[in-house]
Subunit: 422 residues, 2 copies
């Protein structure tokens, strides 16, 4: 079975918004085992939308349209889809009630044009919207499935999860299961080289690598008659990946981020942590704070942008700053040591670098970043040379800092030794 | 003239990456005065790509394809486009040289399949890639323009700016000019209401509102025979918007961000600034550090996640914490005052709130955030109630903090008084 995605919205055609819905729906359809060969974006225009939908019906079994279900005259996805499917629009009592409830709960008056949202193609199924006023719709006719979803992601995603994913899953007899192996400390090309033979040999499961900032994700996807059989196919591949990448794998859990893996490690070892940032200006702290419950181990962080702040808050010596400059191995080391002492944290990470666009020299070019990590007094410093603009360099530095923290903690507890394999 | 965008890449169809190229290209094409009615995504598949391109050629004057120009066998955008256009691929000497130079500069050996990237459709124009190995290509035949661009945004964007935008601009006799009026302190629906009459009345220039986190952007776009005439059309509309939104407009400059506007204001008043963050954990500091050259005024920031850190680094009183709790007006105020004193900064901003997902109570629900700003000793506190998940709440808090800083500085210097118009 295959699926085609049609995103409806002039604001996407004008580049005013990025089409994140298509990425979400594509990923979910792959998860449900449906192949997707085309995605189309079309404006809120009856003729073009009709042509696009008719075209999609010729080549796909399932068509998911998103957007254009609002109450205004511009919104005509439902009207056009019903026309193409040869279904008449009729008022749905449950939808009318849901609309009334929605407005009543918000103490808002319902306007006349809102009632349009209670209309449903006869024979179609309405999906109640818990987060907005436009119901979703599922239509089925002659073996073709047309699904309409509201455009706002906060409405589309929960509706997809609750109604559409189970519906699609039931269409496909096969189960698709995937697992992501998440790797840090290794560059993309090296990681690709390390699994090239596996990618070339495998057809089920398939293996694919994805580069993220400072990380590489390898996704293994298996297709089988039932979940147990799919799991059985995944197991030896994941095992082989674990053998090849060893401790550079920080997680095989879909929802785990690098900062979450580091936070879990800190919690497991009962270690408190502090950050002392120069060029990243709080970005590492902010990323750690992405993890709910981090307050148990992350009590305080320092943003020491000026030399004076480095001296006063992290006890970096004036002579060190003068002799080596703020962007140096020595200053990074003293920042980490000083911050650990000043905040009485077990682990301290320091970042100092040249994020650009100005301030680079031949000796210290834009992208040069020193990262130091102190674990219970043992300090490791790493020199990095990142590419890209100011924002890219800072993001890369934060990922590298998380990677270094992870390594230093694991090494301190003598669990593993890491090489520098970038 | 109209344009159609075709993004080539199986990774987009699988939802592994978000199609940001399409949004960028769509926005740029609108800037160049080209109408766009369709965007399509298709995989690295010869037959489907050919069909998609042929279809696009029937309905558009300009077709921009991105992706699929790599050196591997999977990449076949160039081969397919040349076939559809009836052009033969021949080696281009300049492209060959550029490839050699690219690899030599990186001390890398060139592999055999890379030479494929030096092939160009005969009669087409190669666009040298400064940031990668795949050249872009412009083909013209029978009044149709087919443009190929490499997929990675870091390669696509500079190439578009340098070669493609001037090329498209020359195709359109009319000049399109737009200006964005950037507003803070006002919610989207209120801003829309305030300009609804203008949106309804205007056809040239057109007026459109865009909601950003904590901001609203109003874009005014004029079409005219030359730049001077377009500017003349824009002027009265922008003037009217300035009249309606007054000091809530932080910039009318396309490249200016809210943090840049705040940084410029601090510099203009010769004020140093510090941040003291709880639930945002460094995100405000990180956003200020987005602005190059911020080091002149932003010397130090504090991340005081724990109560102890609030007491020790920002001198918040133990009794205040006990009496009102960490998320309170009183603590926010003391954080700002204390941080200003401790770091000797002229301006201090404090953020304390419940970002969730846990930790909310009836009295202090998830999304409750207090923001305090001290300007030369005068402290203002604002209570906010943000919606969404942990990340959304934190982003909204940072935008609100920047907005409050801007207001407090302007009010301190008695330039304006602000109401709370959310």
């Amino acid at each position: 079975m295959n699926v085609e995605l049609i995103s409806v919205g002039t604001e996407i055609l004008l580049g005013n918004i990025v089409n994140t819905n298509a990425a979400y729906l594509a990923e979910q359809c792959a998860r449900a085992g449906l192949a997707c060969y085309y995605q189309t974006v079309v404006g809120d225009n009856h003729d073009r939308l009709k042509e696009t939908l008719e075209n999609a019906l010729k080549r796909a079994d399932v068509i998911i349209l998103s957007g254009g279900l609002g109450p205004t005259e511009d919104d005509l996805t439902k009207e056009t889809a019903a026309e193409v499917m040869g279904m008449e629009l009729v008022e749905d009592a449950a939808c009318r009630q849901a609309l009334q409830d929605y407005f009543a709960a918000r103490n808002m008056e319902i306007s006349e044009n809102n009632w349009k949202q209670a209309l449903v193609p006869q024979g179609g199924r309405a999906l109640i919207n818990q987060n907005g006023t436009a119901p979703g719709i599922i239509m089925e006719k002659d073996g073709k499935h047309v699904i309409l979803l509201p455009g706002p992601p906060v409405e589309l995603k929960p509706m997809f999860e609750q109604y559409v994913f189970p519906y699609l899953n039931a269409l496909e007899p096969e189960v698709i299961l995937s697992q992501t192996v998440k790797i840090c400390n290794i560059g993309e090309s090296r990681a690709e080289m390390m699994v090239k033979d596996m990618i070339d040999e495998q057809t089920n499961p398939t293996i694919a690598t994805y580069a993220k900032t400072g990380e590489v994700h390898i996704r293994v996807t298996a297709k089988a008659g039932d979940e147990a059989a799919a799991k059985k196919l995944l197991k030896p591949i994941v095992k082989e990946l674990k053998k090849r990448f060893g401790s550079d794998i920080y997680s095989t859990d879909e929802t785990c981020t690098l900062e979450k893996a580091v936070a879990d490690l800190l919690c497991a070892k009962n270690l408190t942590v502090t950050t002392v940032e120069s060029c990243t200006g709080g970005m590492l702290g902010s990323r750690l704070v992405n993890v709910p419950g981090i307050s148990d181990i992350y009590k305080v962080g320092l943003i020491t942008y000026s030399n004076k702040a480095k001296r006063r808050l992290a006890e970096v010596k004036k002579t060190t700053l003068e002799k080596y400059g703020a962007v140096s191995e020595q200053v990074a080391k003293e920042m980490a040591k000083g911050a650990a002492m000043m905040t009485r944290a077990d682990v301290a990470v320091a970042i100092t670098g040249v994020a650009g666009p100005d301030g680079g020299t031949d000796e210290k070019p834009v992208g040069l970043v020193y990262i130091a990590c102190s674990v219970c007094g043992k300090v490791t410093v790493r020199k990095n040379r990142f590419q890209g603009g100011r924002q890219k360099i800072r993001e890369a530095a934060v990922s590298a800092a998380l990677t270094l923290m992870r390594q230093c903690i694991l090494e301190y507890y003598s669990e593993v030794t890491f090489g520098d394999r970038k």
